[in-house]
């Protein structure tokens, strides 16, 4: 289990790095657009759609990592009053439901990507499938990291939750 957790930590780290790179690239694109338009009186028609696709990538990658690191907003008030054991069961239901949603992202995201395969995106000239690949990739990671949470809980290892600042030890 610990070796799997370690491998997944690397996956999460890579995903977060890619996401961060996406944010920086987005900043570069929009700045370039402002500079080109205002200083050179020449608009970059690709900067907006390209930045939007990048945003999709970094949101879905970042959101998947958030499952592992536990930084998603949740509402734990009711759970304060429950015994620890019941709480863990409810957390597991939660994680299972999220696995289901991740599967939906993967499966139906792929359907959307396939149906947009031969549509060409204006200004970028690439396939419309690129619009939906972030959701497919995000879906895979959502499934992986949620399954990891379930496995960790079964093995008695800690899982991170919103508001807990201590990092996972693995």
């Amino acid at each position: 289990m610990t070796s799997v957790a370690r491998a997944l930590r690397h996956v999460a780290r890579l995903a977060l790095w890619l996401a961060a790179a996406g944010l920086i690239l987005m900043t570069v694109f929009i700045t370039a657009q402002v500079v080109a338009r205002y200083i050179f009186n020449d608009s970059l028609v690709w900067s907006e759609p390209a930045a939007v696709i990048l945003m999709g990538w970094f949101i879905f990658l970042g959101a998947a990592v958030g499952i592992r690191e536990g930084y998603h907003l949740s509402f734990d008030v009711l759970l304060y009053f429950l015994p620890k054991k019941a709480k863990l069961w409810l957390y597991s239901i939660s994680d299972l439901v999220v696995v289901g949603f991740g599967a939906g992202m993967l499966w139906f995201g792929s359907q959307l990507a396939l149906s947009a395969w031969d549509v060409k995106l204006p200004s970028l000239g690439i396939s419309g499938a690129y619009d939906f690949l972030p959701i497919v990739g995000g879906g895979v990671l959502v499934i992986l990291f949620s399954l990891e949470r379930l496995a960790r809980r079964a093995a008695g290892l800690p899982t991170a939750r919103f508001g807990e600042t201590d990092p996972l030890e693995d």
Partner: protein, 426 residues
Amino acid sequence: MEVWVLFGTFVFLLLIGTPVAFCLGVASFATVLYIGLPPVVVFQQLNSGVSVFALMAIPFFIFAGELMVRGDIARRLVALAGAMVGHMRGGLGQVNITASVLFGGISGSAAADATAIGGLMIPQMREKGYSVEYGVNVTVVSSIIALMLPPSHNMIIYSISAGGRLSIADLFTAGIIPGLLLAASLMVTAWFVARKAGYPTESFPGWAMLGAIFFNAIPGILLIVIIFGGVRSGIFTASESSCIAAVYALLVTTLAYRTMNWASFVEATKAAVRTTAMVLLVIGCAASFGWLLAFLRIPAELVELMKAVSNNPIIILLMINLVLLMLGTFMDMSPLIVITTPIFLPVATAFGVDPVHFGVILVLNLGIGLCTPPVGTVLFVGCAVGRISVWDAIRTIWPFYGAAVFTLLLVTYIPSLSLWLPSLFR
């Protein structure tokens, strides 16, 4: 029945601690399966909900906020606030609110404001003998100011949700007086609460020192000028201004202050990605949820219901405010703007409310919702920074809620508070 599946699943998942984004997404997924619609629509809406150019203001402003916190811009603004108002009754409470005005003018995010100013002020306040609850309360409620003062990406989201007819520059300008009014009423409240608790004041540092501190804070304050001036003079659009804010913050912290190194830059970027991903996933899932609301004709029924109750604009606005406050307690701001604008704006305009004025009401109202449980992002952030429980914070927060709601009522019923300033620029 479909409606019950949608809301039932949502509430159940919320109660068992599922992340809010997934509560919205899974409830939509379950409902679509129940109705027998092709489920692709849920994931299509999730995708297009986040693929909106104007939403880019969120990552950029959050990124800018992170850079400002880690690169010392925020601390210098807090120091300036301290020198200006620290000698008033409730000293550090007043400083906290004033810092929100200064910082709020350059960041559009209440969460960034609460993190930045709470992180700097709450430990200081604790040290000086203020209760931590007081520090958290002031931090949390005053961070709404950041939503009202330009730039505010929530105003951009509102403009988009309103069908894109509204001038973002007008919306930005309209928030200024209500934002300052909120600051003033919070300062009065802080004064009373501090007097009752017997909190100390700081000594005035003297004009020379104030000047020096001001000089130190100039690059931060200049950002306000650059953002506002840049948008007003047509160098960039309002949503592009968020990107310029991030670039400017990076330039100031690396070139002028020399406080930003590679490691803190990486940390700032990662932190921005984390917060943005969290917020935008909620927005995306709310888009699916909102699509189902529309498909099931819930907004239309709500409007009919409200029209049946009254046709007096004062009552209608009061009702809208109450519904929004209620919704705001259990949902986050941006998705609520996206969901409720198409529902309530037509009602409000039908009763003669100016759309710009309504935007200010909406943002202030939902801003209050950010500070209320169960889903109050800013409240969570404040509690996390102060390391107290949500329960501890809300036991003593009432006077500040009161001040915010009082401001909301003033802003609701005196349209010129919002509309006078933009009319000067036209």
